[in-house]
C-alpha cells in the first residue's frame, strides 16, 4: 500500500512524519480560530510560517533543506511563544531561541563537515556513503548532529528551554511544540543516526534519564502546562530509549510512540487549553470541580491521560508495550525498572492532575464556567478518537506506517509475532496503576507533589551561569580597555612591533 506513495520526495520515514504533521496542523488551526482572541496577525502569520517549516523539515530531501527549515521552525515558534508579548514570555522565548539556535548551529556544523567530506547534502547519497564507510571525521560529525538533535527534542540534560517555552506559549502552540516540533529532533536522529550503532548505548541512557527525571520533575509542578511540558520530556525519553535499543521492536516502538505522543500530548494540551480558555487559570490549586461544568473536556482528558499512562486499550499502551518487549529482549533489568517507575509516575501525575482540575469543589469565582466552544472540542474529539482507534487497530497502523520504515532501515519486522494483549502485559498494567496510586498517596502525604521547594541542583542554573559568564567576560574586556588616547597611539606602535616580530618568527 505504501508503495503508492513513492512520489513523495524521500521515503516512508518522511511520509509518516510529514503526514502526521499534515493531519495535526489543521486541527491546531481549527482550535486556534476560537482560542486566539486578540492579535490575530501576530499569531497567524508565524503560525503559517511554522507550518511551512515543519512540513519542509519532514519533506526536504537533503541536509541543507533540513537545516534551513529547522531554523524557520525555530524562528517562527519564537514568535508564537512570545505571543502575548509580556515580560516573562519574552524571557522564555529568548531562552528557547538561544538554546535552539545552539542546537541548529551544531547541526549546521556537522552538515557542513559532512558536505566538505562528501560533496553532497543528499540524504540518500550520504546514507549510501555511510554504509560503505567512506566518510572521514565521522565521530565529530555525528556527535555534533546528535547533540543538536537532543537539544531540539528536549532530552535531559538539554531540556531547560522546554518547560519555560511551553507554558509561555498559547495552548495550541504548546500542543504543536510538544507534538511536532520536538519530534523534529527525533526525526533528525532517525535520519542520520541509525547507521551509527556506537551512539545507541548513549541514547538508551539519555532516554532512561529523560524518562525518570522528566516524570519526577513533572510530579512537582503546579502549573498545568509546565507539568505537561515535563511530561513531554519524559515521553521523549521513551522514544529515545526505543531508538537506542534498536532492532525491529525498539525502532518500531520508538517511532510508534513518537506518533502516539504527538496525538495524546496534543489532546492533553488542548484540554488544558480549554480549561485555561474558560477559567483563565493555570495553577492547579485554583482549579477544581470542573467535572460537572466541562464533562466533554473531562472525558477527553481522561482518554489522553490513560493513553499517556499506557493503559489499554489506548495507543500509548501499544507503543509502550512494544518498547518494553524490546527491553526484555535486550535483558536490562535496570531499564525495565525505570520503565515501570516512569509509567507509575506518569499515572500518578495524571491522576493528580485530573483530581485537582476536575474533581473536588468548584473554586470561588468560577460559578459561571461553561463547556468549551464546539469548535475547540472538535479537534479534541478527533484526537481522542485517534487515541482509541490507534490503540485498537494497532496492527493496521504498524503494517501501514511503521513496517515500511523498518524495512527501509533493514530492521527485522517481528512485531506482528509479538503479543500485545498477553496476560503479562495486563499484569504489568495493573502493577503500574497500583504503584502509581501508591506514589500519589505517599507523595501527597509527604508533600512532595506540588511543593515549590527549589532544587539545589538545576541544569538550567548551569546554562544560565554559562550565559552570565559570557556576559561577565564581555564586561571584563570592556573594563580592561584603556580610555586614554595616548595609550592608543602607543598601542598602534606596539602592534607594529608585534606584527613585525610575528612575521620574523614565523617566516
Amino acid at each position: 500500500m505504501i508503495s503508492q506513495f513513492q512520489f513523495f520526495p524521500v521515503d516512508s520515514l518522511s511520509f509518516i512524519m510529514g503526514s502526521l504533521a499534515l493531519l495535526l496542523l489543521p486541527l491546531i488551526l481549527i482550535y486556534s480560530v476560537k482560542y486566539i482572541r486578540t492579535h490575530h496577525i501576530h499569531y497567524f502569520i508565524p503560525f503559517f510560517i511554522l507550518a511551512l517549516g515543519i512540513i519542509g523539515v519532514f519533506f526536504s530531501k537533503d541536509f541543507l533543506g533540513f537545516f534551513v527549515f529547522l531554523e524557520l521552525v525555530t524562528l517562527s515558534s519564537y514568535f508564537l511563544i512570545i505571543q502575548p508579548w509580556m515580560e516573562d514570555t519574552l524571557a522564555a522565548g529568548f531562552k528557547y531561541l538561544i538554546m535552539n539556535l545552539i542546537g541548529g548551529v551544531l547541526i549546521l556544523f556537522s552538515v557542513l563537515i559532512l558536505y566538505s567530506q562528501t560533496g553532497s547534502f543528499d540524504f540518500i547519497e550520504i546514507s549510501k556513503l555511510l554504509s560503505v564507510g567512506a566518510i572521514g571525521k565521522l565521530p565529530l560529525i555525528s556527535i555534533a548532529f546528535l547533540l543538536g538533535c537532543l537539544i531540539k527534542c528536549g532530552a535531559i540534560p538539554f531540556h531547560t528551554w522546554l518547560p519555560d517555552a511551553h507554558p509561555a506559549a498559547p495552548s495550541p502552540i504548546s500542543a504543536l511544540l510538544s507534538g511536532l516540533v520536538i519530534n523534529i529532533g527525533v526525526y533528525g536522529i532517525l535520519r542520520f543516526m541509525f547507521t551509527l550503532k556506537i551512539f545507541f548505548p548513549v541514547l538508551v541512557w539519555i532516554g532512561v534519564g529523560s524518562m525518570l527525571f522528566g516524570v519526577i520533575l513533572a510530579l512537582r509542578q503546579t502549573n498545568i502546562k509546565r507539568l505537561l511540558a515535563y511530561s513531554s520530556i519524559s515521553q521523549m525519553g521513551y522514544i529515545l530509549l526505543g531508538i537506542g535499543i534498536g532492532g525491529g521492536l525498539g525502532l518500531g516502538g520508538g517511532i510508534f510512540h513518537a506518533i502516539n505522543h504527538a496525538v495524546f500530548k496534543m489532546l492533553l494540551f488542548l484540554c488544558a487549553g480549554a480549561v485555561i480558555y474558560v477559567t483563565g487559570e493555570r495553577q492547579l490549586k485554583h482549579l477544581g470541580g470542573l467535572m460537572t461544568r466541562m464533562p466533554v473536556t473531562a472525558a477527553f482528558f481522561i482518554i489522553g491521560a490513560l493513553s499517556i499512562s499506557g493503559i489499554p486499550p489506548f495507543n500509548g499502551f501499544v507503543s509502550k508495550s512494544i518498547i518494553s518487549a524490546a527491553v526484555v529482549t535486550g535483558r536490562e533489568p535496570m531499564i525495565k525498572i525505570a520503565m515501570i517507575l516512569t509509567a507509575a509516575g506518569t499515572f500518578a501525575l495524571f491522576f493528580k492532575m485530573f483530581k485537582q482540575i476536575f474533581l473536588g469543589d468548584l473554586s470561588a469565582g468560577k460559578w459561571n464556567v461553561k463547556e468549551a466552544p464546539v469548535i475547540m472540542l472538535f479537534p479534541m474529539f478527533l484526537l481522542a478518537s485517534a487515541c482509541l482507534g490507534m490503540g485498537v487497530m494497532w496492527r493496521r497502523v504498524l503494517v501501514v506506517f511503521i513496517y515500511p520504515v523498518l524495512g527501509q532501515y533493514g530492521a527485522n519486522t517481528v512485531l506482528s509475532v509479538h503479543k500485545i494483549w498477553s496476560l503479562e502485559s495486563l499484569l504489568h498494567t495493573l502493577i503500574v496503576i497500583g504503584l502509581g496510586l501508591v506514589i500519589y498517596g505517599v507523595g501527597m502525604r509527604m508533600g512532595w507533589l506540588g511543593s515549590a521547594v527549589p532544587w539545589i541542583f538545576s541544569v538550567d542554573r548551569i546554562y544560565v551561569s554559562i550565559g552570565r559568564l559570557i556576559v561577565m567576560l564581555g564586561n571584563i574586556i570592556r573594563d580592561l580597555q584603556f580610555r586614554s588616547l595616548n595609550f592608543h597611539l602607543l598601542w598602534v606602535f606596539l602592534m607594529l612591533l608585534l606584527f613585525y616580530f610575528l612575521f620574523r618568527f614565523i617566516a
Binding site: F67, L97, L108, F109, S116, I470, G474, I477, L496, F499
Partner: protein, 485 residues
C-alpha cells in the same frame, strides 16, 4: 566611453562635490541633493556600460594624462574593483536617499559626502600605491568633518580620536611606501608585485616591516580587533548616514585595500593568511562579546560591525576561492545590512531621543515598520536562512571546514549564536508592551518618507539576495577570479 570608465567614475562625484556649492546661485529647490543623486547615477551608468567587458574578464586601464605606468598614475577597472564600485554605488545611493529626508544636512554635507564617495572610487580603481594613500587621506579628511558635522563636544571628541588613531598608523604607511619605492624604484602596484620575490631573497626583513605596517594601517581602517578603538565612538557619535558610510564603506575600504595589496604583493610570501585567520577570529569574538554588554544602540551596532568584519577577515584568511567568495559576499551583505540597521537606529533615536537600549521599550508599538525592519535586518546579520547573511556566512564556514579548521569553525558558529543573543536582547526590549514613559525635553524630528524608503529598500535587498543568492555571483566570481586566477 568604456576606456575612459575608470576616470569618469571618480570624476563624476568629485565634480558634483564642487557643483553642490554652486547650486546656491541657481533658483532650484534642493539643488545640492539633486546634483549628488545625479552624480551617483552617472557613475552607476558608467559602471553599467563597462559591465559586459569587465565581467567577461577584460581589464580596462586608464593612464592619467597619458603617462604610462612607471611614471604616471594608472587606474584599472577589473572584476575586483568593479565589485567594490558596485558596493560603493549602492550604499552611496542609499545614503543620499536617507539624507534627502533630513533637512538638517546642507550643501556642505553633500559636498563632503561626495568627496568621500569619490575617494572611495579612487581607492577601488587606482593601481598606484602613493595614489592609494592619497585617496585614503582624502577619504579620512572628509569623514573627520562628517563625523563632527553636528559640532557637539562629544562628536568633536570622537572625530579627533578617529583622526589621531588612524593617522598614527597611516604616517607609517607613508614610510612603507617610501621603503618600497627605495627597494623597487616604482610606485605602480603591478611593477612592485613583479619585484617582490626578488626583494624577499635580498632583504626579507624590510619586507616584514612593510608588511606589518600595511597590516596595521589597513587593519586600523577596517576595525581589526586590537586596533578597533576608534570605531565605537566614531560610529555612535556620527550623524546617522555617516555611521552608515563608516560601517558600510570605510571599513570595507580597508578590507578592499588589504585584499588588493596583499594578493598582488604577498601571496605565497610568508604565512600571512594564517595570521589573518586568527586575527579575524579574535576580532569576531571580541566584537561579539563587546556588543553583548553595550547599553547604547549605536555602539552595539558598531561592535556588531567589528564582529562581522571578523567574519570577513576569516574568509580572507582561509585564502581559498570559496573563502574569498564568502568574504566578498559578506562584505557586500554587511554593507547593506549594517547601513539599514544604522538607518533604523537613526529613525528610532530621532523619534524618541533615547540612545540607551533600555529606554527604547515599546518601540514596536510606536513605529512598527521600523521595528520590523530592524528585526528583519538583524535576522539577516545573524545569519538566519532566507536572508543574505546566511548565504555568505555559509560560504565562509564551509570554506573554513573544508580546510579542516574545525576549532575556528566552531568559533564562527559561536559568533552567530552570540550575535543572535545581542540582537534578540534588543528586540526583546523593542517588542516589550510597556512603553517607557520617561519624560525629557526632546522635540522629535519629523521623519519623512525618504528615510523609511531607504530602510525598506535595504530590507528588500537583504531578502531578495537571501532567497536568490545566485544574482550576486555574476559580479562576485570575476572579482574572486582577479584575486585568485
Amino acid at each position: 566611453m568604456a576606456e575612459h570608465a575608470p576616470i569618469l567614475i571618480i570624476v563624476f562625484p568629485l565634480l558634483a562635490a564642487f557643483l553642490t556649492h554652486l547650486t546656491k546661485y541657481v533658483k532650484l529647490e534642493r539643488g545640492a541633493e539633486l546634483v549628488a543623486f545625479a552624480s551617483m547615477l552617472a557613475s552607476l551608468s558608467v559602471l553599467v556600460i563597462s559591465a559586459p567587458a569587465v565581467l567577461a574578464g577584460r581589464v580596462i586601464s586608464y593612464n592619467i594624462g597619458g603617462w604610462t605606468a612607471p611614471l604616471g598614475i594608472s587606474l584599472v577597472l577589473d572584476g575586483f574593483s568593479f565589485f567594490f564600485c558596485i558596493v560603493i554605488v549602492v550604499i552611496g545611493l542609499l545614503l543620499i536617499l536617507y539624507s534627502l529626508g533630513v533637512y538638517l544636512y546642507a550643501r556642505r554635507y553633500y559636498s563632503l559626502l561626495l568627496i568621500a564617495l569619490s575617494a572611495l572610487f579612487g581607492i577601488a580603481l587606482t593601481r598606484d600605491l602613493f595614489n592609494l594613500y592619497v585617496f585614503f587621506e582624502i577619504l579620512a579628511v572628509s569623514s573627520y568633518v562628517l563625523i563632527a558635522y553636528k559640532r557637539r563636544p562629544r562628536t568633536l571628541k570622537a572625530s579627533f580620536r578617529y583622526l589621531m588613531i588612524t593617522e598614527s598608523a597611516w604616517v607609517f604607511f607613508l614610510l612603507a611606501i617610501a621603503m618600497l619605492y627605495g627597494l623597487t624604484g616604482t610606485l605602480n602596484m603591478d611593477g612592485i608585485a613583479q619585484k617582490i620575490p626578488m626583494i624577499y631573497q635580498s632583504s626579507p626583513y624590510s619586507l616584514f616591516i612593510i608588511f606589518s605596517i600595511m597590516l596595521v594601517a589597513f587593519g586600523i581602517k577596517c576595525g581589526m580587533a586590537p586596533l578597533h578603538s576608534w570605531i565605537p565612538e566614531a560610529h555612535s557619535q556620527a550623524p546617522t548616514p555617516v555611521s552608515g558610510l563608516l560601517s558600510g564603506l570605510i571599513l570595507k575600504a580597508g578590507i578592499f585595500a588589504m585584499l588588493r595589496v596583499f594578493y598582488l604583493f604577498f601571496v605565497g610570501v610568508g604565512p600571512f593568511s594564517t595570521i589573518l585567520l586568527y586575527v579575524g577570529l579574535i576580532t569576531l569574538l571580541f566584537g561579539a562579546l563587546m556588543a553583548l554588554v553595550q547599553d547604547e544602540l549605536k555602539k552595539l551596532l558598531a561592535y556588531s560591525s567589528i564582529n562581522q568584519i571578523g567574519f570577513i577577515l576569516v574568509g580572507i584568511g582561509i585564502g581559498t576561492t570559496l573563502g574569498l567568495k564568502g568574504a566578498l559576499f559578506h562584505l557586500l551583505n554587511h554593507a547593506i545590512m549594517k547601513t539599514g540597521l544604522f538607518f533604523c537606529a537613526g529613525i528610532i533615536i530621532s523619534q524618541t531621543g533615547f540612545w540607551k537600549i533600555e529606554r527604547l521599550r515599546g518601540v514596536y508599538k510606536r513605529m512598527p515598520g521600523v521595528a520590523i525592519s530592524f528585526f528583519l535586518l538583524s535576522l539577516a546579520i545573524v545569519g538566519i536562512p532566507f536572508f543574505n547573511g546566511f548565504a555568505s556566512k555559509l560560504l565562509v564556514i564551509l570554506a573554513t571546514l573544508k580546510q579542516m579548521y574545525y576549532i575556528p569553525g566552531i568559533i564562527l558558529l559561536l559568533g552567530i549564536v552570540i550575535s543572535a543573543a545581542y540582537y534578540f536582547k534588543v528586540l526583546r526590549i523593542f517588542f516589550n508592551p510597556e512603553e517607557s514613559r520617561e519624560v525629557h525635553d526632546f522635540v522629535p524630528r519629523p521623519v519623512g518618507p525618504f528615510e523609511h524608503f531607504a530602510v525598506y529598500l535595504c530590507v528588500v535587498f537583504c531578502v531578495v539576495i537571501g532567497i536568490f543568492p545566485g544574482i550576486i555571483f555574476p559580479i562576485l566570481e570575476p572579482a574572486v577570479k582577479v584575486l585568485l586566477p
